[in-house]
């Protein structure tokens, strides 16, 4: 399974299946009077074919190893979701601080002082957006 080309093909086929099978639930109609399900079905079939072609192709070309590193993407996503949750329940300033402190674990180096500075500047920018551009930010 550690072949990039193969996984890519299977991934595309999975997306095509999800959308294709769901589109069968909607009315298909005829070609002359297409229903809401027709076009998604056609596109999903095309996508499935492309996925299939990718899988077939992966048998002929040299395997490329699939490498991934979940740490950085996970930290960034936790930062974003935390920002949204904190902004909703507490306020956006807490959200900004959390976003900066959480996501910068993914950086090359970590420094509390630098994070505080970044947070301060971003809070300042948010204040400017709120006061002068009229954005409705729940800062407090």
């Amino acid at each position: 399974m550690n072949n990039l080309n193969l996984v890519r093909g299977l991934f595309l086929m999975a997306i095509a299946l999800i959308f294709g099978l769901t589109s069968l639930k909607y009315k298909l109609g005829e070609f002359s009077r297409a229903g809401p399900g027709m076009f998604p079905l056609v596109v999903s079939c095309l996508l499935f074919l492309i996925g299939l072609a990718t899988v077939v192709r992966s048998r002929f070309v040299k395997p490329v190893p699939l490498n991934y590193n979940m740490r950085n993407i996970a930290l960034v996503l936790i930062g974003l979701c935390g920002f949204a949750v904190l902004s909703a329940h507490l306020n956006m300033i807490a959200g900004i601080v959390f976003l900066v402190f959480c996501s910068s674990f993914a950086g090359a180096s970590y420094s509390v002082v630098r994070n505080l500075k970044i947070s301060a500047v971003l809070i300042g920018i948010a204040l400017v957006f709120q006061r002068f551009l009229g954005l409705n930010l729940p800062l407090f």
Partner: protein, 502 residues
């Protein structure tokens, strides 16, 4: 003479104090974005899209356009000084960086700036003459022709941006199905919404763009984990007269090539640069110097880059079909402002069209000032370490998503698409075709269904109309050529293996 009157009319609109200001903001932000890693024109335009809701139509379009072509200007600076391309300036890394190694950074930057100016100017003349003409042609287009044109755009973009037709087409189709999420306009049926009410209006454009471009790009930079070493050398900008004379012919060649390639579907800055470089290598008087720091190697590609960035507005504004991902976002901006780009736009909103064209030249002058005399100040932007930059980029992504609907839940969707974008990236699938598919998907469905309605379900009608027939033939040739190109070398390899065995 018509053009001159029209352009004069355009300048009347572009030179108001307000529009000048928007143009300047656009160019400055664009240059900054072109210099910074982790933010391309695509994510910046989608970030600023919500902010333009409160700006007058002309001003917001002028600003967004400025960001796009400004980013093309700024892009070559990092390529020349540090050999780091990020949006599109891969070619500038070749000769531009060689010039830096020889201590001629200033000359390279001057050449890039001036050639971009020449390229932009030529492209605006092309834009002003061709767009109205092409608009007349667009009136002949029927639904089948639009379908064919959209497909041709998909095929060309896939091929140009990813180099692999299969991967690119897959991404456009994923974009198309994502674009189908929401209420079907014809029947009112909610499709793929999983009974979630906020999906009834479809997935937010900004969420997809920021997720797939902004967040995925940030994580990509984090994963590679390299800190850049900023450029600290001295810069002497002014060239000598013989050096200056070498810029002109090459820049003009590049402008013509770029203007032409920018109009074609799937065209745009990247392919134009390569073409201009190849032509210079073949026909330039100094072709023996190409590859190790020739002025021509920088001038031609910079001019082509800038020219193509501007002429790629032609298909959008005259036919109404964007030809690459950035233009697709521009189209979204037009539509947000209640303007349908297309053949009727020039007639219905002449002030917008000619104002935008004229503002491009005004922007050209701004950029020349920003990029030639002031370039040394911009270089200090490189000194900001990425560890400071990326939390700020994430913050702007959050604010950008939130401020569209003042809804914090949208941030979760952006995060989801950030993850999707990361998956796509790791699987070797490029995101720009997805954006094009997402925006053109609903249009494609509409034209597809309309054509089948007209022809009573007969598919041959797509091939018998002259325009769509020709376009589909071109698509068939491109795909056929790809298939042949895939099988030919493998057969050769087999033959070689057989020979080796014997």
């Amino acid at each position: 003479m018509d053009i001159l009157t029209n352009l004069a009319f355009g300048f009347e609109h572009a030179l108001t104090l307000q529009n000048l200001m928007y143009c300047a903001i656009g160019c400055t932000v664009g240059t900054l974005v072109g210099l910074l890693p982790g933010l391309g024109p695509l994510s910046t335009i989608s970030l600023l899209l919500p902010l333009t809701y409160s700006i007058p139509t002309a001003g917001s379009l002028i600003m967004l356009a400025g960001i796009y072509y400004g980013a093309q200007y700024g892009d070559s600076v990092s390529a020349i000084t540090m050999r780091i391309p990020h949006a599109s300036s891969i070619v500038a890394c070749i000769d531009g960086y060689q010039m830096t190694l020889k201590g001629r950074t200033g000359l390279a930057l001057f050449t890039a700036g001036v050639s971009s100016f020449i390229g932009g100017t030529v492209a605006i003349v092309v834009l002003a003459t061709l767009a109205p003409l092409l608009g007349e042609v667009a009136f002949l287009f029927g639904p089948a022709d639009y379908c064919a044109l959209i497909f041709l755009g998909f095929v060309c973009v896939s091929f140009v941006t990813t180099g692999s037709l299969l991967n690119g087409l897959a991404m456009t189709l994923v974009g198309v199905v994502l674009g189908l999420v929401g209420t079907d306009v014809n029947s009112g049926v909610a499709r793929f919404t999983m009974d979630l009410s906020f999906l009834a209006e479809g997935i937010g454009l900004v969420s997809i763009a920021l997720g797939c471009f902004g967040i995925a790009e940030v994580v990509k930079n984090l994963d590679s984990g390299e800190e850049r070493t900023p450029f600290n050398g001295k810069i002497k900008l002014m060239p000598t007269w013989p050096e200056f004379k070498r810029i002109i012919p090459s820049a003009l060649r590049g402008s013509v090539i770029g203007s032409f390639l920018g109009i074609l579907p799937g065209g745009g800055p990247v392919i134009a640069q390569f073409a201009a470089y190849a032509v210079d290598k073949r026909f330039s008087k100094y072709k023996h110097e190409m590859g190790d720091g020739a002025i021509e190697g920088v001038a031609g590609q910079a001019a082509a880059d800038e020219a193509a960035a501007r002429t790629s507005f032609i298909p959008l504004m005259s036919i109404g079909i964007p030809e690459n991902a950035v233009m697709a976002l521009m189209m979204a901006a037009f539509i947000v402002k209640g303007i349908q780009p297309g053949p009727t736009m020039i007639a219905d909103h002449p002030d917008l069209f000619w104002g935008l064209v004229a503002s491009m030249w005004v922007g050209n002058c701004f950029l020349l000032v920003l990029n030639v005399p002031l370039v040394r100040y911009w270089l200090s932007v490189f000194k900001i370490p990425f560890s400071v930059l990326f939390p700020s980029i994430l913050f702007f992504c959050c604010i950008g998503t939130y401020s569209i609907n003042n809804n914090l839940n949208d941030i979760f969707i952006t995060a989801l698409f950030g993850f999707m974008g990361y998956l796509f990236m790791r699987l070797g699938l490029e995101a720009p075709p997805l954006m094009l598919g997402f925006i053109l998907g609903p249009m494609l469905e509409e034209y597809f269904r309309r054509q089948l309605l007209i022809s009573r379900g007969d598919f041959s009608s797509f091939l018998t109309r002259p325009i769509s027939g020709t376009l589909f033939a071109v698509i068939a040739i491109i795909i056929g050529w790809q298939v042949v190109a895939f099988f030919l070398p493998s057969r050769k390899r087999k033959a070689a293996l057989l020979q080796a065995e014997q």
